[in-house]
Amino acid sequence: MFTTEVILQTLVSGLLIGLIFSLVAVGLNLIFGVMDIVNFAHGEFLMVSMYISYWLYALWGIDPIFSIAVCAALLFLVGVLTHKILIRRIMDAPMVAQIFATFGLMIFIQNLAFFLWKPDYRSISSSMVSGRFEFLGVYVGLPQIVAASGALVTTGILFYLINRTELGRALRATSEDREAAALMGINTENMYSLAWGLGAACVGVAGALLSIFYPIFPQVGMVFGLTAFVVVVLGGFGSITGAFIAGIIVGFVQVGSGLLFPPAYKMAFVFGLFLLVVFIRPQGLLGK
């Protein structure tokens, strides 16, 4: 049963979905890294992006590939607005209030989607990007490859942005020491909004990419959101590289567990991984 083909298939599938997990987690990590706040609504941002992509397709026939930029821009806006309207007020609040603020946002957005669009599953049936091909006995869908590549590229862009530009340096400075950064003339409020905007934009891209082949429904955010938490914890809060590697690992775990156990338990392994990491090595692979 465990032929090379099967193992290769698992690895490839895991890698492809893992890269998307990475992108979602990178966005989450950015927010946490800069301001120590866990965005429980992160999965819902993804869901919103997927719906935007879907409606652009359903109403105006725009292929998801072209929606990527729109989704990223709109989600950037959503992120910034979230910071300015909600997050700013809870920056110095007790942790319980911080948890519940983004948690409330998650419930709000998810149920807004329920209310507007019903729990129906939707999907984009004919994208430009379709079909699959095969090599070495491994079947790979073109949408998955495109999505994974898109995720990889976006992660790379973000990495470059954070580590090699002035803006990125300002962000990193703010994340290390809010007061020192302010003294150096960095507008920390803007940095926070930027972090939220970029974090949400990452998820915006991921959503558009996912919508090519993944079903779209109000709860889709929960699954990816929770997985993103696992990824961030495994990779280490605050480390983009960590999130990247961890995303791929979690992809392997999720697909791989389907080999040995009924697929219904897939998520259980992901959650189990979270608990494992948190008890054994809380700082994750590369965390601070």
């Binding site: 909600l86 519940f100 409330g104 419930i107 149920n111 209310f115 729990p119 929770l226 998520m267 948190v278």
Partner: protein, 315 residues
């Protein structure tokens, strides 16, 4: 300060009112509403012990509800054991699980702890979904028997009403007792500043476990009640994440760490949710939770101490 003196009369009047409620309001639906409100209030009070007083935000509490419900139901269906005994068994099981899960989790800081509880909740949900012996996704239908106290089943809603009312009273009394005892002081200390608490000899982990056990116990109690009232349980109704969320929502809305906060939260949210569901039907799906979510956001941002702070005077 004048208002406070009336507080006790007010509460006394309320208790009397609730005691005669089923006599005044005979409509089945009204009684059903009240029973639901009491049950959710009990859940909110239970959550509050761990989340409000101790500051450990759990988002997976439905686990204990489900364990309570399943334990008493399975014992009743397979061995004919009275659900009251089953309730005790359910409480013991829930407490055991809470301690086993809690002990390692308590080392985690706030956000991690919350996410860990979500993970545990989801894992257990998945387990029960696939556990065919106890019904799996289909669930369990409790056999209908004649009116019997021993077997915890009644044709009329009135006995259920009084049972859940007294369960709720028990939780209120317990919470008041906690607040006034050393346990309450210690929990508040642990919540406020764990390092400082430990430096004055407070064994933080031990007290967190105590709070966890009490919280799980009351939740499981409600679980058994639910099973005996609705006579049908499945993972979707007793082990789902939304329930966990609702539990803490009520407490947060009303005011965590207080005796009356969760009650206020329940009395506002449950009627709201039931009414919106009744009037809007399918179209209203999600509307009530949208309001929940919106309220929680607003609360966190503007009134983190909950609605009850409107009634409290600042010194």
């Amino acid at each position: 300060m004048g208002f406070l003196r009336y507080k006790y009369y007010f509460i006394g009047a309320l208790v009397v009112f609730f005691l005669v409620f089923p006599v005044i309001f005979q409509k089945s639906f009204t009684q059903h509403m009240m029973i639901l409100i009491f049950m959710y209030a009990l859940l909110a009070m239970a959550w509050n012990i761990l989340g409000g007083y101790t500051g450990q935000v759990s988002l997976g509490h439905s686990v204990f509800f489900g364990i309570g419900a399943y334990t008493s139901t399975v014992l009743f269906m397979w061995y004919g054991i009275s659900p009251w005994i089953g309730m005790i068994a359910g409480i013991i099981a829930a407490v055991a699980v809470s301690l086993v899960v809690g002990y390692p989790c308590f080392r985690l800081k706030g956000h991690y702890f919350a996410i860990a509880t979500i993970c545990v909740g989801e894992i257990i949900h998945l387990i029960f979904l696939n556990w065919q012996a106890v019904g799996g996704a289909i669930g369990l239908f409790l056999p209908i028997v004649d009116d019997s106290f021993i077997q915890f089943q009644f044709k009329s809603k009135v006995p259920y009403y009084y049972i859940i009312f007294f369960m709720l009273l028990l939780s209120v009394v317990t919470t008041i007792w906690i607040e006034r005892s050393r346990l309450g002081f210690y929990l508040r200390g642990v919540k406020e500043d764990q390092d400082a608490a430990r430096s004055i000899g407070i064994r933080a982990t031990r007290y967190k476990m105590i709070a966890m056990a009490l919280s799980a116990a009351f939740t499981a109690m409600a679980g058994t009640f639910y099973a005996q009232y609705i006579l049908f349980i499945d993972p979707g109704s007793v082990l789902f994440m939304m329930l966990s969320i609702q539990m803490c929502l009520m407490a947060v809305l009303g005011g965590t760490g207080t005796v009356w906060g969760p009650l206020i939260g329940a009395f506002i949210l449950i009627p709201l949710s039931e009414v919106s569901r009744a009037h809007l039907g399918g179209a209203g799906q999600g509307l009530d939770l949208m309001v929940y979510g919106g309220l929680i956001m607003i609360m966190s941002a503007y009134k983190p101490s909950g609605l009850i702070s409107l009634f409290q005077k600042k010194e």
